[in-house]
Amino acid sequence: MSYHDFRTMLIRLRAQFIKELLCILRDPRNRVVVFVPPLMQLLIFSYAATMEVRNLDIAVYNQDTGRAAQELVWHLEAARFIAQVHHVHSNTALREQLAEGKVIAAIAIPADFSRTVAVSGSGHAQVLVDGRRSNSGQIVVGYLSSIARDIRFTADTAPIPETSVTVRHWFNPNLVYLWFMVPGLTGTLAFFSALMITALSIARERELGTFDQLLVSPASTLEIILSKSLPALTISTLLALLMITLAIWFFRIPFTGSFGLLLIGLVLFILSAVGIGLVISAISMTQQQAILGGFVIGVPTVLISGFATPVENMPLLLQWLAQAIPLTHFLIIIEGCFLKALPPRDVLANLWPLAVIAFTMLPIAMIFARSRLQ
């Protein structure tokens, strides 16, 4: 290719890039919908997505009139994670409250509770837990047990021997869930944005019949693929940068790592999402197929990436599959750059898979874009 050819190619590419960008941003409603909903989702979901347990109601059926039982109830009412203690007066009512989901746990204190405490120093109470909320239920049992452990009914009860165990949580000393969620959401929302914008790009032209015209134009397939990937790459990278800005200045999440490395990771990540979107788009004949295809690929991808639940909890086969997903690697990079000051070596270990995914997807998209012509 001579210098002249290269120059005309760049001019053509520039024109196509502007055309593609206008295609998406020409409609003022599109301009809004590309940026505003993802940013709103970040604000809402960051606060919504929490595995912490607080503000829950429990029910108590106290059959005992003694002092020890009353003291137990007081301790429950004072517990910080409990919003309200519902007092009921029969076992049926206790079960009803639980079945109807009004309370997450129901405690039955037997009639001989205080007497048993007086005789043996220790009493029993049954806790019924709503298994429909299995995760929160387990945490609630943990909290209730620690309340039960700390109660002293008489001054002379021998304290349980203390162990000198100290716990320190690195990177996030108070285990603020928001610090974990905001970087993860940034990656997930940017991924969906890039995937959906590119998924539509070729499919829209196919549906309108203009893609055939594009293929017979002087532009090469490489140019077409490049011009289709650049707008989403620009828009979604910008969107992700806006979200990172919000994370730092609005959510006040400490940023300890290297911004340059995060930026490289971000561009490669968006490029691999764009690659996947282009393959979907090149296979699809209509916009509907492209969008639904984007969903069928996008939704499982996010689930396996470890965004909602850790990859370590998954079966081995899915753990391997997770390695082929761009979001898995980007989550490690972005969470590491925010909280862990992730060293370059560890960032690099997750950068090259992103590059591999991006540069295998783009040629595949080129092959499909052409072969579907017949």
Binding site: I44, V117, V127, V129, G131, A148, F171, R204, L303, A308
Partner: protein
Amino acid sequence: MKSASGQEKSIVVRRFDPARFVALVRKESLQAMRDPSTLLIALVLPLILLFLFAYAVSLDVRHVRIGVVLESPGATARTLADAFSGTHYLDVTFAYDRREVVGKLIAGELRGYVVIPQNFERHFADTGSPLVQIITDGSQPNTANFVANYAQGVVQTWMANLTGTIPMPAVQLEPRYWFNPELASRRALVPGAIAIIMTIIGTLLTALVVAREWERGTMEAILSTPASVLEILVGKLLPYFVLGMLSTLIAAALAAFLFDVPLRGSLFALLVLSAVFMMPALGQGLLISSLARNQFLASQLALFSGYLPAFMLSGFLFEIDAMPAPIRAITWLIPARYFVSSLKTIFLAGDVWSVFLPDLLGMATIGLIFFLIAQRYTRKSLE
């Protein structure tokens, strides 16, 4: 036929014609079935999603990788270190210097480590209590909590075995987990996943199909026929209603027979709940399409107002009670919230109508509001 009164002239009153309606439904059904992507989303996606919610999205922590740094050469310290390897909840890597594990913690290869320091034996001989430091990877708060609690538990059990006396707390709680005694998070997640699948079919698919008609101008064409707006809209939605119900039945069968989630309630209640949930789901799809009128906009709106809120704000994965008050208020507007609560109950608890009735009311109200607004916007374009 023209209306006699002058004021009603602008609103053309059309009579319901069963033959025309059947023809409309037939046309829409054929159109829906012709595109293979419809079947992909109605049959293949539920299978994939249920499988993932059953096996991939697991809150049950197993085999968490931790390090145990044994800096003390003593025999007592050795037994404590061994105590950590005896459980399948932890996957222990032993080390003799904490520098060996710090890098692994940062890289995410370990989720925490336990240090048994050099002066462990002397401290234990002096005070009778073990000196142990637990470090966790706080960047994953849920796992960090588990590591801290579980490691403390291991130390306590080890102490109890060593001294031979198990300390008696003043109150001993006997927890019993109702509805889900094995505490498999799968059992709570799979029913909720049905709400997400139905949201995708009802909202996304409908929004796309109707938006395409607007985009191509065929919606205007069909609105100019003698059929009434209501007939057209119902005719358009009916095939997707049937598709959604079919998909629910398939998902319920998969949940019960393949994923080992019991259906303790009745099939009748499940059908009633699903049918009523299709109202807000379809209504939202219709509303999105009549506002957006192009497929790109419709898909973005369906994604950000339908699918993602159903996933994040429905109580499917994250506890609604634990959210801040303004966000709890927003969840009341999410139809999936009501459906998830009822689905978990019908699968795990049974027919509890005192749960279902408020949920049904919530879904029906939201559905009605969506339909009224959508109808208004559709009619407006006629003028």
